[in-house]
Symmetry: C2
Subunit: 252 residues, 2 copies
């Protein structure tokens, strides 16, 4: 039986570029960056050479996928949220992680994040350094305040304290890994789980934290103070040279 061919439709260059970019995200996060341009084109309902009208080569397309996924993932309100002293610290922290989990626990993000890490991109470390500077420092600061411990200005944040916050981050992110990388079942009510993880964190942390703050503690190694340099926010990637569309070739 003959394949019914959809009537050819011309999109504006911008529309098509976005169309391809979105499709590429969905495609590559599923099969990895080894996925073939032919297969991608087929899914998009276009021919493979058309991709090369919009992106000079596959690598540029992948670059575009990174921008699509990494950009605008950061919600600047998170920082305000953690700073809002009108609410109790515990409530703020729990609320933040509930929000953050919603933003981060998606098929696309989890997989692209892993793929880019395994490929040796440094996007991951850039992104996570940002998280550390914008979030971890705040969480620790508020925890210190909550438990009557010295402020980071008085005693700089120690390695071990960061590790404790890393652990909470990890336990949330790992829910996504279990589901979208290992293909395991996870609880239906992720919100409740995250809430419990944050709560359990808040209950378990102070003992260890207080211990690590005692000058006698074995490995109290202050880190470079974070939160010092104030960057423009939001963008993990540079605003970035937009890939120039290929000029139509002269004919004849």
């Amino acid at each position: 039986m003959a394949v019914k061919r959809a009537p050819r439709r011309r999109l504006s260059a911008d529309e098509r570029e976005r169309h391809i970019a979105r499709g590429a995200v969905a495609f590559f996060c599923e099969v990895g960056f080894g996925g073939q341009t032919r297969e991608l084109a087929k899914r998009l309902g276009i021919t493979q050479p058309l991709l090369y009208r919009y992106f000079p080569n596959k690598e540029a397309l992948i670059e575009r996928v990174y921008r699509e996924v990494y950009l605008n993932r950061w919600d600047p309100r998170w920082e305000e949220m953690l700073d809002d002293h009108s609410r109790p610290a515990r409530e703020r922290i729990v609320a933040f992680y509930r929000d953050y989990a919603k933003a981060v626990l998606s098929y696309e993000w989890i997989r692209i994040f892993m793929f880019s890490g395994l490929r040796g991109m440094n996007l991951n470390s850039r992104y996570l350094t940002l998280v550390r500077d914008r979030v971890y420092t705040r969480v620790i600061r508020e925890l210190r305040r909550e438990y009557g411990l010295p402020s980071p200005a008085e005693v700089p944040i120690g390695e071990m304290e960061f590790e404790l916050v890393w652990a909470l981050h990890a336990s949330i992110f790992y829910i996504g890994i279990r589901k979208w990388i290992y293909g395991l079942e996870i609880p239906e009510n992720v919100d409740e789980v995250v809430e419990n993880l944050a709560t359990s964190f808040l209950d378990g942390v102070p003992a260890v934290m207080a211990k690590s703050l005692k000058p006698a503690a074995k490995s109290l190694k202050p880190l470079k103070p974070a939160l010092k340099t104030r960057k423009p926010a939001t963008n993990v990637l540079k605003p970035a040279a937009k890939v120039p569309r290929r000029a139509p070739r002269p004919r004849g």
Copy 2:
């Protein structure tokens, strides 16, 4: 300048097979399974067709890599360790996780585990189901006992309890991800970190756990009882048909 060629050395078939297998692990865990057989052969100091004398195709070689890495990773003493009632529960649990972390936080394991997950292998889920049945259930059982809560025989283990143990597992495993996938710096003294994570876990968990055990709790959803079927232990993968070496071809 002429390339100094190492004198050709003949290994016994078994030796060469292991040589290739070990090299393949190191190679594929670094570049992923998309890595080229030519490049692998170069690193091994052999020619690429020789690979095909020992493995019928690339997929079989990859299969061999899985066996090499997954097999014998499980230490049966872990279960005994957790069951040893002559030591306090907290001590046992902390000691177990210190040990487990040492076994699991390696470049090879972390990366192969991720690569196999992203490839859609079900090895990950098989392995992790084993961990759940052999470890998580024990940890929860001991915790319940420690805190005077009903035993799993009386009240089956709930979803949320498993989630709490997952969280500890995640926070340890994630240390490896940070280092070997994201390329981030991690503390020198991982042992101490793991100890603190386990401690913080033990301090933080009981409140949430007790809550989740109250019949009134929202989502007390008992899971299928684990630890029931006793499997031969140790092997995650089937003992597995050894790839038959290719018979030398008749000549002339």
